[in-house]
Amino acid sequence: MKLKYFSAPYLVWMVVFIVVPLIMIVYFAFTTDNGSFTMKYISDVGQYANIFVRSIWLSLIATAICLVIAYPVAFILSRMDKHKQGTMLMIVMLPMWMNFLLRTYAWMTILGNNGIINHILNIMGFESVRLINTSGAVVLGMVYNYLPFMILPLYSVMEKIDKSLFEAADDLGCSPVSTLFRVVIPLSMPGITSGITMVFVPAISTFIISRMLGGGSNLLIGDLIEMQFLGNAYNPHLGAAISLVLMVIILVIMTVMNQFDPDEQVLM
C-alpha cells in the first residue's frame, strides 16, 4: 500500500478550490466579458494609484507602531518567571479571540461624534473633536486589531534567547543599549520579520476597519476590491485585476522581508 496516495482527496480539493480559483483571478484580470485578451483592466488599476498609496502608507504606519509597542511587551513577557509567562500571554492574547468586527465596533462607540471621548471633552469644557472617519482612526483600528499578531511571533523567538547571553554581553562591557542592538535585535530578527508580515498583510487588505472607522473618505485596496464584487460598481474583471496587483505587492514585500531573515523562512 502506497501511503502517498492518502493525500489524493486533498490534492483534488487543493487543485479545484485553491489553484483553479487563483487561475480564475488571473484569467478575469486579463479578459473581457466575451473572453478576449485585454490589458484594459490592469491599466485601469493605475487610476486608483492614490488608494494604493494610501493603503500601503497607512498599513506601514500601523505595522511600525505595532512593532514599537509589541517589542518591549514581548521582551518583558519572555523575561518573566516561567510559570507566570503562560498566564500573562493568555491575558495579552485574549482580546484577539473576540471577533474583530466587535473589537472595531468598540472603537466606533469610543471615537464617535457622540462617543465617550467627545463626551468627556465636553464635560471638561472643550469642543468636540472629529476622531472617527479620519485616517488616524483607521491606523488605530489596525494597531488595535493586529497588535497580538506582532506580540506572538516576537515572544516565541525571544523566549528561546538564553538569559546568560545578556550576562555575557554585560561582562564583556556592552552597555544595555548596545546589548539591545547587538544581541537582542539580531537574535529576534525571525520574529520581527514574521510579525511584520502577519500585521502588514491583513492591514493592507482590510476593508472593514476602513469602512467602520474611516467613513467614506478613507478607502483602501480592500474596499476597492469589495466594491467590484459585491458593491454597486460590480465589475469582477477590474476586481480581479486589483486583487492581482495586491498579491504582487504582498509578494514583493514578503521577498524583501525574507532578505532580513537569516533562516529565510516565514513563520506563520
Binding site: 502506497k2 501511503l3 502517498k4 496516495y5 492518502f6 493525500s7 489524493a8 482527496p9 486533498y10 490534492l11 480539493w13 487543493m14 478550490f17 485553491i18 480559483p21 487563483l22 480564475m24 483571478i25 509597542i69 518591549p72 518583558i76 513577557l77 503562560g86 493568555m90 485574549l94 479571540w97 473576540m98 471577533n99 468586527l101 466587535l102 472595531t104 465596533y105 472603537w107 466606533m108 469610543i110 464617535g112 457622540n114 462617543g115 465617550i116 463626551h119 488595535y144 498583510v201 491583513p202 493592507i204 487588505s205 476593508f207 472593514i208 467602520m212 480592500g222 469589495e226 464584487f229 459585491l230 469582477p236 476586481g239 480581479a240 486583487s243 498579491m247 504582498i250 516565514v266 506563520m268
Partner: protein, 268 residues
C-alpha cells in the same frame, strides 16, 4: 527598570481591554446612548435572545464550523500522511500551494472562491449558501490541519510503523495503535484551530454566503451598518464571557498535563 516594565505592560493591557469593557458596561445601559450611562437594565440581553436573526445565524455558524472542521481534520490528516511520504520535489510543490490560503490576504481567498462559485452557479445547480460556505471554510482550514500534523510526522521515528507490522499488526492496526497516538496532538490542535477560525471568519464568508444563510459575523456586520443597537454590546459581553471560560479551561487542562508530565519525569 522592572517597575517601568510593569507600568508599560499595564498600559498596553489597558489599551487592549478598555474598548471591550466599554462594550460590556454599555450593554447594561438603559438608553441607547453610547456615552452616558443612565441606568442599569438587562433589556438588551432579553431582546438578544428574542432576536430570531441572531439566533438562527448562531445556529448556522455552529453547524458550518462543526461540519467544516470535521471534514478539514480528516482531509488534512490524510493529506499529511500522504505528503510526508512524497518525494522531495512534489512535496515542496504541494506544501507551497497549501501555504497559499494562509499567506494570501483573506479578501483574495474570498474573492477567488466567489469567482469559482459564480462560474459553477451559472452552469450547475449550485446556490450560494450552506454548501458554498462549508466548501470555503474547509478550503481555508485544511492548510492549518496539515501544518499542525506534519511536524508530528517529522518527529516520529519512521520505523515504528514497520516495527508494529513486524510484530504482527496489520497495516490498519499499526496505523491505529502506533501512528495515530503519535500524531494525535497535532490532529487535535488542527481541529481546534479549524473550529475557531470557522466560528470567527467574516471576510471569506462574506464573499461566499449569498443572502439565505448568514453566519454570526455577517449578522454582526450588518448590525453595525445599521443604526446603533446595544444588542451588539450584549452579544459582545456574552462572547467575551465564553472566550474567558474556554481559555481558563484550556489553561487549566494544559497546566494539569504539564504537571502530570513533570511528575512522570521525576518518577523516572
Amino acid at each position: 527598570m522592572k517597575k517601568l516594565g510593569k507600568i508599560y505592560l499595564i498600559l498596553v493591557l489597558l489599551f487592549l481591554y478598555v474598548p471591550i469593557f466599554v462594550l460590556i458596561v454599555f450593554s447594561f445601559n438603559e438608553t441607547k446612548s453610547r456615552s452616558v450611562f443612565s441606568g442599569f437594565t438587562l433589556d438588551w440581553y432579553r431582546r438578544l435572545f428574542h432576536n430570531k436573526i441572531i439566533i438562527s445565524s448562531l445556529v448556522n455558524t455552529i453547524i458550518i464550523a462543526v461540519a467544516a472542521s470535521i471534514v478539514s481534520t480528516v482531509l488534512g490528516t490524510l493529506a499529511a500522511i500522504g505528503i510526508h511520504h512524497m518525494r522531495k520535489v512534489p512535496k515542496a510543490v504541494v506544501m507551497n500551494i497549501t501555504n497559499m490560503p494562509i499567506i494570501n490576504p483573506e479578501i483574495v481567498t474570498g474573492v477567488s472562491l466567489m469567482l469559482l462559485f459564480v462560474f459553477f452557479a451559472a452552469r450547475m445547480n449550485l446556490e450560494f449558501g450552506f454548501v458554498t460556505l462549508i466548501i470555503a471554510h474547509i478550503t481555508f482550514n485544511v492548510p492549518y490541519v496539515i501544518l499542525n500534523v506534519m511536524p508530528k510526522f517529522n518527529q516520529m521515528n519512521p520505523h515504528i510503523f514497520e516495527a508494529a507490522q513486524d510484530l504482527g499488526c496489520s497495516p490498519v492496526q499499526a496505523f491505529r495503535k502506533v501512528v495515530l497516538p503519535e500524531i494525535m496532538p497535532g490532529v487535535v490542535s488542527g481541529f481546534l484551530m479549524s473550529f475557531t477560525y470557522s466560528l470567527d471568519d467574516f471576510v471569506v464568508s462574506y464573499f461566499t454566503s449569498g443572502s439565505t444563510s448568514q453566519t454570526l459575523p455577517i449578522t454582526i456586520y450588518s448590525m453595525t451598518r445599521r443604526k446603533v443597537s446595544p444588542e451588539i454590546n450584549a452579544l459582545s459581553t456574552l462572547i467575551f464571557i465564553a472566550v474567558v471560560i474556554v481559555l481558563i479551561v484550556k489553561n487549566a487542562l494544559e497546566n494539569k498535563a504539564a504537571r502530570k508530565n513533570a511528575s512522570y519525569k521525576e518518577g523516572l
